[in-house]
């Protein structure tokens, strides 16, 4: 379990990182390394250059501005989990961070790295998708913004260009209720089903519902039929949405559970989300 040979670079600015990425089509960004380094050790990935972002200033930090959380791409999961700002503005996001792996991994792994990696069972892509967030990226040709809906293209696939670096992740949190949950066998395992649901809630009625599922499906995905079936209804009136969710997604099978099982537990996860929404409206 030793990696193959690679060149290593640790630039001190984003432009230099982009240039290094542009020069070597088999280069990879190292942004914490908690997924990439195991892949190297298993020789499942063999990039020729690793461009380490740890020395680039300005890529970490958490700000709450204009109704959104702006998370520097190199902000660690642990940093988000423990951030007073996140805990105050969107405690569900801090709680979502705590679902990721174990403290050792959360201390090094970063939100930008996780989003760019786009693991089918990871928490951040589901959260980003459910919040309708976006990422800010810099490439050789300049800066651009990519919405979550446009970013995720499939398992381990994004619309990032090879020379592009995510610099920050934006999560619009104001006015939205957020619920994140998952079924995992042991704490720190990849979820067998991961769900993030966000919505506005007015007088018990849910509007602007966005629902993202990971882990149970081949890649992180929204469930538009389910969202539509819940739109304008109360959480107690969610039977149609439950039925829609069971029908609209394609569930994966592996040694940890069949597709039917994953459908079943994704349904119970959604029912938990609905119960939580009901309890919130009860408190309001």
């Amino acid at each position: 379990m030793k990696s193959p040979v690679f060149a290593y670079a640790a630039p001190d600015n984003v432009a230099e990182a982009c240039r290094l990425l542009a020069e070597d089509e088999d280069a990879k960004i190292l942004a914490g390394g908690q997924s990439l380094v195991p892949l190297l050790a298993l020789r499942l990935a063999a990039p020729t250059t690793l461009v380490d972002l740890r020395r680039v200033p300005g890529l970490t930090g958490i700000e709450h501005e204009a109704g959104a959380l702006r998370l520097g791409a190199m902000t660690t999961h642990r940093g988000i989990e423990r951030s007073p700002v996140v805990r105050d503005v969107a405690p569900a996001i801090a709680a979502a961070a705590s679902l990721i792996a174990h403290p050792q991994v959360r201390t090094r792994g970063t939100i930008g790295g996780a989003v760019a990696h786009a693991d089918a069972a990871a928490e951040w892509p589901a959260v980003l998708l459910a919040l309708g967030g976006h990422v800010e990226v810099t490439g050789v040709g300049g800066d651009r913004t990519i919405s979550a809906d446009d970013l995720f293209q499939g398992p381990f696939m994004t619309s990032l260009e090879p020379d592009e670096v995510i610099t920050s992740v934006l999560l619009p949190v104001n006015g939205r209720q957020i619920w994140v949950g998952e079924h995992h066998r042991r704490h720190g395992d990849y979820g067998l089903s991961v769900m993030a649901m966000t919505y506005r809630q007015d007088g018990g009625v849910l509007t602007d519902v966005r629902l993202a599922v990971a882990g149970a499906t081949g890649s992180v995905t929204r469930a538009p039929d389910t969202e539509a079936a819940l739109e304008g209804r109360t959480p107690a009136d969610g039977d149609g949405a439950v039925a829609a969710l069971a029908g609209e997604l394609s569930y994966t099978a592996d040694i940890h559970g069949s597709a039917d099982y994953r459908r079943d537990i994704t349904t119970t996860l959604f029912q938990r989300a609905l119960r939580a929404a009901g309890e919130r409206s009860g408190q309001a």
Binding site: S3, L42, R185
Partner: protein, 786 residues
Amino acid sequence: MSFAHSESPSIAARSIGARVPRGDDPRLLTGRGQYLADIVLPGELHACFVRSSAAHARIAAVEVEDARALDGVVAVWTGEDAAKFCEGIVGELEVEGCVATTMPLLARDVVRYVGEPVAVVVAESRYVAEDGCDLVDVDYEPLEPVLDPRSALRGGPAANEELPDNVALRGGRVLGDVEAAFAGAARVVEATFHSGRLSAGPMETRGVIADYDWTSRRLRLWTCSQMPHYVKYCLTAYLGFPENECEVLTPDTGGGFGQKAHVFPEEMLLPLLARELDRPVKWVEDRRENLMTATHAHEQFVDIAYAFDADAKATAVRIRATGDGGAYHQPPWSMGVEPWCTAMVTPTGVYDIPVADLTYEAAATNKTPIGAYRGVGYMAGTLVRECLMDDAARAFDLSPFEIRRRSVVREFPWTNPQGIVYDEGSWLQTIDELESMVDYPAFRQRQAALRAEGRFIGLGLSVFVESSGESTAMGKAHDLGGVYHDTATVKMEPNGSVTVTIGLTTQGQGHRTTMAQVVSDALGVSLEAITVRAAESTTYGWGSGTVGSRGAVIAGGAVLRASHTIRTKLVALAANMLEADPSDIDLVDGAAVVRGVPGSSISIIDLATAVYFDQSSWPQDFDPTLEATLAYDPARPIFSNGGHAIIVELDPDNGFVTVEKVFSVEDCGTVINPDIVEGQIRGGVVQGIGAALLERLVYDEAGQLVTTTLLDYHMPSMDFSPPFEIHHLETPSSHTPGGIKGMGESGLIAAPAAVLNAVNDALSHTGTVLHDIPVTPEQVLRALRS
């Protein structure tokens, strides 16, 4: 026949029985241990293995020239190169019906399981060695893989041509009139169980360093083995290294659990490489290799039936245990030990069942060889016996405690139908104790109340008897061969401090602490004055291996016998100096005292100093050697016993099983150190929870191992470690030092049955009864929805 080394002197327990903190902990828990990977020899090379990617294939060609040409690669060997020195290592179990196999050091012509070593690359670093492995091109011509053990035994292609009918082991015994017993039964309860394929999963993987000096012909081999003397024997027997110039060293070892109680091809190859390349060679196994190629464990299919009379007492048992053995016998335990033990040793357990029909068989399959793992043979055997007992309890509408009381042995000594004699035990008391610990009526009330709320809890019971202190007598009692004994050396220095060396290696069990407690009581010296060295090198002592719950009994006996020799000298000297009769001298609290004469005493330090430096104080004919090496091997087989009651809750949202609480009763005779005994129980039970709920090595239909990382092979983590309540019963052995019995395997032996029983109890309203482990969340969810 009787032998001196089977007799142990008596001992007065003072330190024995105390919760002495483990002396190793400050060093190990602060990261100061020296494990195999921490050892760096000057000029060392690194080995990495090319392992078969096919379950069963003919090797058409192995192309190694690119690897040999890589900068930094020193050597590449294939099966042909290794075979010049050794044809392979032979494995078999010395019982009726076992057919031996020879495992090549590197596969030649045919590969028989995924992960089998095909070539080895030796290079200046592990990185380069792995680069070299990537350049070795093996051309495999696929052969049909043999994957299902039960159909393999009915015919078809052979997994290993040495076993053309795939029968690696087959035998059994019929004891009493089985047909009549089943024909006359009031009720027959039967089931087929499957216990899944496991990895022992030690935290530290295997590893070997070999260093050969051609000027002296001296070989030093570091390996984290549980059986270093056996490894040394193999180096001599298979490879011809001279025994007197061959040393096996065992550094700190991060768990073994039986996996490291074998000899492996890697341990035989590295000495040859070191000798031929004239440089030290190191191999540290990675986790993927460990999951793929270190012995697998426990997998069996078991058909079992009990006949009961109208009073719900068991009258007969019929069992067929079929092992899914893998491609070879891994010496010395082989693929036979699992099904053989399940069928021949465990079916009657603590129950008085006079009639038995016992059949064992092991099938060769194209999978990793099965070997020993904590509770070998006993875990699956206890699973089927104790789970069938709970099935019977439901059939008779009796409590799980009552069904067991109807059949439990109450009179000792007791001889089971196989002829094994149990001298003593607290078998009935264990059942009664667990029943009161769980407060059974209150549990049933709580269960009913929660069920009404849509919550599902269940209680599972499992009781066991465990053979312990693996010995020559134990082997004979079970119709197995083998001579076992260990030595210990006890040496007292001029200042009264004591150094103890034992023949057992230690993998984290706290032997250094428990053995110091034995010496402290034998010699009357404080624990601080005692240093215990586990078998760090085969240069010292003799040991038959840290296996079979031997440590406390065997090392304890040897240490006590050696201590007693020193004690006798100290007593004689003290009697002379104090002008008292030796029979009136006691050694206690650092001094020799004259019983009944207050104030008449001399410190052990002064005695030790006098032995070395003051001849005038010696009695007539005194021999001043304050060092003794003695062996121990108990005269009779020693059995401990106990049980677990486990409460689980099922999550109706996802089928997950959570263990709420474990109640354990353990009777290992005299307890040397309750903290260490309880640690063994906790660790073993959590491994059992893993076996019952999480751990499963999975092969696909092509014979590829799917679970090659700990992301897929789920071991229990701290959130699977439930609260425990542990009670000790003490029924001392009348044959061992101080009445000690071994107990290192009891948790894993009995916990899986308790967990499965608890799950089935929680599902009792559904009509579903599960008989396979691990229980999957999907099975539970499906049962709850049915």
